[in-house]
Point group: C2
Chain length 314, copies 2
């Protein structure tokens, strides 16, 4: 049989993943669970695809604001729009949650749910990553896609649990990851049920945050959507810490995995050895690394554990 | 092959259900959809189980308040607790949403998610319906259970979309309906990620409403959880109207069904002919009946369409 994890080098990370799946699916194992209870959750940014030099969704926000700017001349002089339109990355680093909410509201709200999906898809069809000059959706990590497929082949339901926007990710998740919309849990605006001028029902997107699905929000929303903790959880930053803690607290054979970005040649380096992790929001800090080691979590090093990073590599 | 809807009499309701399933699953049909897109949603109270003389969950609230009352002597003199503890059904009818939230907060919050599930299960194990003297979970409608099973056998994912409490319904939905926790969408309290004194992660239930899953909340939450409208939706009251409208608005062969309570002998009568519907919250009103007729929705009459109502009937 072909190796389902062929983009992984042999090593402790690959072994831990395989051992976990065997323990949960072998009916002779004391950790066996029926397929109905096999749930795995994956962070997206930095875990399933590239998040540098900025979150893909932030690139979408900037392009969309630029597109809308002619109708909002006041943005030229008022923050956070002024910095966003100038593409001032240093300013971004200092944006508050309120600033980000303002930018998301201006770029993601005020249209129907169907219209928003169309806007995201049209953007993805033409946007490119500045380094690789590929569509962003090419920049998914082949080894992680193999883990998703391996889990599904073993009866797992595989969820994306992202701090990013649920509606944004749903616009491409099925095509890119094989993940249907109902398996995407993410930060969400409220929607509002309305009737159009023909009396037809539709949902609008008001500029109001309903779920902020990061940090403690991840286990809270996993419970909201699924009613129980996953058996396995994958992340890459402090934004995933609580999800991994919630997974482990449920006991039994659970798999907690962190992707470590330590390969500047093939991707990026911003882990605890890079000297920049502890100064950044949502990073793989030294404290998180120490927690992973002391709690027996798996650390998957891009440099050492991944044979290749992207499917388009030769 | 055995009739999958054997508790249904032949008639327009049964025919509509069968014709819908055939249209969506026959690969030669122009309405064929792949299994991934086959989604059906069911209201619970009055659609899947008995909701009279009061919602089952309200019976739980009253029993739980009675249990907690010795520690809350102030409830004896303050509303809405005073009426709730007295079991004053007439007072209930005039409770506001704020009153109900107060009662839910007092009876459903302040413990961990695991503890709440245990409380619900312990109550269900001993509580009985006052008329049939059966556990409430025996009072599910056998014909509707057959529809759920028939849809699942045809590749549908079957969701419960209830105005009742999500955590309450999840405590028994898999055992009673074969519906796993992640297929229950309901009104929800927030949860709060915390650590216990051993540093172990857990989720607590603060007394704060996050989702009110009734009326317009139903399509809004269907979108939140599933990202698209269902192909088929089943309800029995004005609380389900927007869900049915959202389903129909998506076009193609969709099935919108309302259960009509018109059988006082075998169950209850509170539809538009009963003289009480238009005075009650969440009822099958005359206006809803007229909408169903004009929009081509299916009305399933308990009296005429159901061969039997409960599985325990001879």
């Amino acid at each position: 049989m072909a190796d389902p994890l062929q983009s992984w080098n042999e090593g402790p990370a690959k072994s831990a993943i395989v051992a976990f799946v065997q323990a949960r699916t072998d009916s002779a194992s004391q950790d066996f669970v029926r397929p109905e209870d096999r749930i795995a959750t994956f962070d997206q940014d930095g875990t399933l695809w590239v998040e540098h030099p900025m979150y893909v969704q932030l690139a979408f926000v900037l392009d969309r604001l630029a597109e809308l700017a002619p109708q909002h001349r006041e943005w030229k002089t008022s923050e956070p729009f002024k910095s966003a339109l100038a593409g001032d990355l240093a300013a971004f680093a200092n944006f508050t949650m309120a600033d980000l909410e303002t930018l998301v509201a201006a770029s993601h709200a005020g249209m129907s749910t169907d219209d928003f999906r169309g806007i995201v898809r049209a953007w993805l069809a033409k946007a490119e990553h500045p380094r690789w000059k590929h569509p962003y959706t090419d920049l998914i990590y082949q080894p992680m896609l193999e883990v998703m497929q391996y889990l599904r082949a073993n009866g797992f339901k595989v969820y994306i649990v992202t701090g990013g926007g649920q509606a944004f990710v749903r616009a491409y998740a099925e095509r890119v990851y094989g993940t249907p919309p109902e398996h995407v849990i993410g930060s969400s605006l409220e929607t509002k049920f309305e009737y159009n001028s023909d009396g037809k029902a539709l949902l609008m997107r008001p500029p109001k945050l309903l779920l902020y699905n990061d940090l403690a929000g991840k286990p809270e929303d996993i419970y909201l959507f699924l009613g129980r903790p996953p058996l396995a959880a994958f992340g890459n930053s402090t934004g995933d810490q609580q999800m991994l803690e919630y997974t482990q607290a449920a006991g039994g054979a659970r798999l907690m995995t962190l992707v470590l970005h330590d390969d500047p040649e093939r991707e990026y380096s911003y882990g605890p050895e890079s000297g920049q992790a502890d100064t950044k929001f949502g990073a793989f800090t030294r404290a998180l690394y120490d927690q992973a080691v002391s709690k027996g979590w798996t650390v998957a090093s891009i440099k050492h554990d991944w044979k290749r990073v992207f499917a388009f590599e030769p």
